[in-house]
């Protein structure tokens, strides 16, 4: 307590220095006045009182000095003086100070921001109770154990009934078609709705704050809905009376049964606004063992391991395989939910983490080089001050404070930079990287990077001062010029650091180069469609007002009406756009041709339902036979169009036209073959079977994404299309209109995020390496200017000296690049999984990076060489 109050008093007296001094002054004047009063009262002569009092009291200045000592602030005073001295010293070499501060800021800011992102997305557990017990269940073919496919309702119900390893098992339907229109407000609005099985919220241990969860007897399409906290606030203004009220969605009234707590984020569909019961009635798709469409998650019972649950699942799977011959080769696998949720992003985030580590290392090396070089340059000053009687302790303390001033300035700038970088990462990655919206600055990495930065600044800043303090001043002074250029040992350390800088920068540059090339190849990939001049948007028809004949008519009519607009080439609809991933993978078997009746003749094929002139609108050429037209309606036998790959796999070696296949519980006749399109942004191709909407409308309420190809700008067409649709049905929502290029480019957003982060790291690294190279070389040239002066005075050619310096710089750069190639070799294993259509050791990228480094090295060496020889030798030698 008394120590604390002591410290506080000392602290206050430093801060309030001026006031304390004024008060002391006043107190002593008061003392004098009282003394004088007393003397006057004692009868002293008025004229002499002041002088007498002063004499009696003793020296005021001496008293003040003693009082100041008694305040115990001497050490603090000295430190403050050191700080202001340090700031003045640094201000005399602003270039050096700025480079060190910038280096630290970039290192701390970049590291903190990126590591925080990695931590939020990768390392932090799911925000649910006991997240370690949450698992994801996938189905896959017996021959493809790594596949993560969705689950059929038949299998899900069997799992839920029989598996004892699970406390709860739940299914959700995450297909993007699960949206509903809210037409009650001023204008129609579309919200994302997630159909879930009854124990979904039990699995997550997240219960509604108002009302209740779903019951198993509601798994029949019951019109119940649970609202997200946001939607409840928006629609009912937080009124608890909302529970029990009716909410009309897509024309059907649903009863609000519950409201989820604020801040609840859904692991399966983060932006979802409401939940409805999943329809699991037998007789619908739910009886089809070949129809995979459910995402299944579960919570293991306490003490049950993933392996034990998997064993039980395998045993049940064998029973089910005997029970359902059509799905005899289906298997199922369990994964940790956390691993599954973050899997798509984990590789790129790990790569970023590696890049962060390299940058941090580079920062340390850079700071070390700069401080050591500066320390050597000042060894003369240190020696001189030591010779003049400067206390060594004081000298070291002053260097310490100088380094601390640098470190603190760099760290403050780093914090600001981290904040900026984090909001940039959130903006770039929004929507494509899961859980990024919960990004917060990670205190652990912040302290870590602050500690690393401070430590490297202190260690490398103090080394020269300590050496100077130990050395005999006279040696240092006598050696002057030679010692300044650095003893052989010191120079080797410095060169080694610069080589390390160059090598690190080279590795980062190669990594960024590979990703940039990958990204470019990805963007210029032929996806099999012409996305540049097409507009896409979704149209969802509420079942309450549209029965299947009305839906069939509407989707054909809307195409015809849009095609009449000026500038429209063709229009059509499809259940899922190309290059946006797999969707409706159904078992498909040939009924004719060489593979008919064979045991493994069937394939899993992508199913797409199309309307209007879809193939023409998307730019997919019809290679054989014909596309669908008005003839293919409900009145004729079912007809299918297949992709080239599907034709080759189902009907190898024969003309596919006229062949028959079976899928989705029906038989289809092949009437045409179209070119393959990409399944995803990486250009993978999968066998695809197309169905005409008019023939398949009874299966379900297909939501067709409309594709409109135009001769002009797609956006310009939007108002006319809006009017056309409003004229047909004003309550319909034209949902998510965008160019087709944007719609199928969304898959590249995550790659772009990685790329931008890595490219900025590479740019930072290059900048740091260039600064380090330039700083080290220019200092050593400056230190040798006396030697150069002597050489020139003795007749050495300026050019020869320039070449000498240039060669020195290039030797260092070349050595760095050679070591960097080794680093890139080590990196190639990590990069192999990240790059696309480019070798991890692509010679072009390696050569480009090397050339870049050498150019920077040459520039960094040339400038000081030029400066060194531009001076008049006499001015140096004087």
């Amino acid at each position: 307590m008394s120590t604390l109050s002591d410290l506080w008093a000392r602290f206050c007296s430093v801060i309030l220095r001026g006031r304390e001094e004024r008060e002391l002054d006043e107190e002593l004047r008061f003392h004098l006045a009282m003394e004088a009063d007393a003397r006057r009262a004692g009868g002293a002569a008025a004229t002499d009182v002041d002088r007498q009092s002063r004499l009696a009291l003793g020296g005021v200045e001496r008293t003040k000095e003693d009082v100041r000592d008694a305040r115990g602030t001497r050490l603090l005073d000295d430190s403050l003086r050191d700080v202001s001295y340090a700031v003045r010293t640094l201000a005399r070499s602003p270039g050096f100070a700025l480079v060190v501060i910038l280096t630290l800021a970039l290192g701390i800011g970049g590291t903190t921001a990126v590591f925080s992102a990695v931590d939020t997305v990768l390392l932090q557990p799911l925000p649910y109770q006991e997240p370690g017990r949450l698992v994801r269940l996938y189905q896959h073919g017996a021959t493809k154990p790594g596949d993560r496919g969705v689950v059929t309702p038949v299998h899900f119900l069997a799992y839920r009934r029989s598996l004892s390893s699970f406390e709860h098992l739940a299914a959700v339907l995450t297909y993007s078609t699960t949206g509903e229109d809210l037409t009650g407000g001023d204008r129609p609005e579309r919200i994302q709705v997630l159909p879930v099985s009854a124990d979904y919220f039990d699995v997550l241990r997240a219960q509604p704050v108002l009302g209740r969860g779903f019951e198993e007897n509601e798994e029949n399409g019951a019109p119940s809905v649970i609202l997200s906290h946001d939607l409840w606030e928006r629609l009912y203004h937080g009124n608890p009376g909302a529970v029990g009220q009716a909410l009309v969605m897509s024309g059907t009234p649903f009863t609000v049964v519950g409201v989820m707590p604020a801040g609840y984020t859904d692991p399966m569909a983060p932006g979802v606004a409401a939940w409805v019961p999943l329809d699991l009635r037998p007789g619908l798709d739910a009886s089809n063992v070949d129809n995979h469409y459910l995402d299944v998650i579960g919570r293991l019972r306490p003490g049950v391991t993933l392996a034990r649950a998997q064993a039980e699942l395998d045993a049940l799977g064998a029973t089910l395989a005997r029970q359902y011959a059509d799905a005899s080769d289906m298997r199922a696998s369990l994964y940790s939910l956390k691993e599954d949720v973050v899997a798509p992003a984990s590789r790129s985030l790990k790569l970023m983490l590696g890049a962060v580590g390299l940058v941090l290392l580079l920062v340390c090396v850079n700071v070390a080089t700069l401080l050591l070089v500066r320390g050597s340059a000042r060894s003369h000053e240190f020696a001189l001050r030591a010779a003049l009687g400067g206390m060594r302790g004081r000298l070291v303390r002053q260097m310490l404070i100088e380094c601390l001033v640098l470190a603190v300035a760099g760290e403050i700038a780093g914090l600001v930079l981290a904040r900026l970088a984090m909001s940039a990462i959130v903006t770039l990655g929004a929507g494509s990287v899961p859980r990024l919206d919960a990004l917060t600055m990670n205190p652990g990495i912040l302290w870590f990077s602050l500690a690393v930065a401070t430590a490297s600044a202190l260690v490398f800043g103090l080394l020269p001062a300590l050496r100077a303090a130990r050395a005999q001043p006279i040696d240092a002074l006598r050696a002057e010029g030679r010692a300044l250029a650095g003893a052989q040992g010191q120079r080797h350390v410095r060169s080694g650091l610069v080589v390390a800088q160059v090598a690190l920068a080279f590795v980062l540059l190669v990594g960024a180069g590979l990703l940039i090339v990958s990204f470019h190849r990805l963007r210029s990939l032929d996806l099999g469609v012409k996305p540049d001049q097409a507009l896409v948007f979704e149209l969802h028809l509420p079942e309450a007002r549209y029965d299947f004949t009305a839906r069939a008519r509407f989707y054909e009519d809307v195409t015809t009406n849009i095609e009449q607009l000026r500038g429209v080439r063709a229009a059509g609809g499809i259940t899922r756009l190309p290059a946006t991933g797999p969707y409706h993978v159904w078992g498909t078997t040939p009924l004719t041709g060489p593979n008919a009746g064979k045991e493994h003749g069937g394939i899993g094929a992508q199913q797409r339902v199309v309307s209007g002139e879809y193939f023409k609108a998307a730019g997919i050429p019809v290679l054989e036979g014909r596309a669908f037209d008005a003839r293919d309606d409900a009145s004729v036998p079912r007809r299918a169009v297949v992709s080239t790959t599907a034709a080759a796999q189902l009907f190898p070696g024969v003309d596919p036209i006229g062949q028959r296949l079976r899928t989705g519980g029906f038989d289809w006749e092949v009437i045409g073959v179209v070119a393959d399109v990409a399944l995803d942004v990486e250009g993978r191709v999968a066998p695809t079977v197309y169905h005409a909407h008019a023939q398949f409308v009874g299966d379900r309420n297909w939501a067709l994404t409309q594709v409109v190809s135009t001769s002009g700008s797609p956006e310009a067409l939007l108002p006319a299309i809006r009017r056309t649709i409003a004229a047909m049905d004003p309550a319909l929502v034209l949902y998510r209109p965008m160019t087709m290029a944007d719609a199928i480019g969304a898959g590249t957003a995550q790659r772009r995020l990685t790329l931008i982060v890595l490219a900025s790291f590479a740019a930072i690294a290059l900048l740091l390496a260039a600064l380090g190279l330039f700083g080290a070389l220019s200092y050593s040239v400056k230190l040798r200017s006396r030697e150069f002066g002597v050489r020139m005075a003795l007749g050495a050619d300026r050019g020869a000296i320039r070449r000498l310096v240039l060669r020195q710089g290039l030797v260092v750069a070349v050595a760095g690049v050679m070591i960097g190639v080794g680093g890139a070799l080590a990196l190639s294993r990590v990069m192999a999984s990240m790059v696309f259509h480019v070798q991890p050791l692509d010679p072009g990228v390696l050569a480009g990076a090397a050339l870049f480094i050498l150019l920077v090295g040459a520039a960094a060496a040339y400038l000081p060489a030029h400066r060194a020889t531009a001076v008049d030798p006499r001015s140096i030698l004087q």
Binding site: F30, H31, D66
Partner: protein
């Protein structure tokens, strides 16, 4: 007036200041006067030793200070005893008593020459 006053016994100033402030809060000049009066003008308290001592004691939390107006209308810094200061005074008083009675015992003793 022949000056028979002497400097304080080493180390007693703080105790005497605490004692003075235990009576009532007082400004620096008043403290010096009070000590001189109470010691019947034997002790002399110089401002050069008083003010540094006050600063030290304040730092240790034994006294606090505040500015007030004196009876003859001057602004002065008044010092007051804290609870910690009161405890400190008791400690110092006790150890002073022990020390001074020990010194008195020695001085009063009849020295018996050591004989065989």
């Amino acid at each position: 007036m022949a000056d028979t006053r002497s400097e304080l016994v080493q180390g007693t100033l703080e105790m005497l200041v605490l004692k003075t402030l235990a009576l009532e809060p007082m400004h620096g000049w008043g403290i010096a006067q009070r000590i001189e009066q109470l010691s019947h003008d034997v002790f002399l308290v110089t401002q050069g030793s008083l003010y540094p001592a006050l600063v030290r004691m304040k730092r240790r939390g034994w006294i606090t200070s505040s500015w007030r107006i004196t009876e003859n209308n001057r602004r002065a810094r008044y010092y007051a005893l804290t609870a910690a200061g009161a405890r400190r005074l008791e400690q110092e008083r006790a150890s002073w008593h022990r020390a001074s009675s020990a010194v008195n015992d020695i001085l009063r003793a009849n020295v018996i020459p050591a004989t065989a």
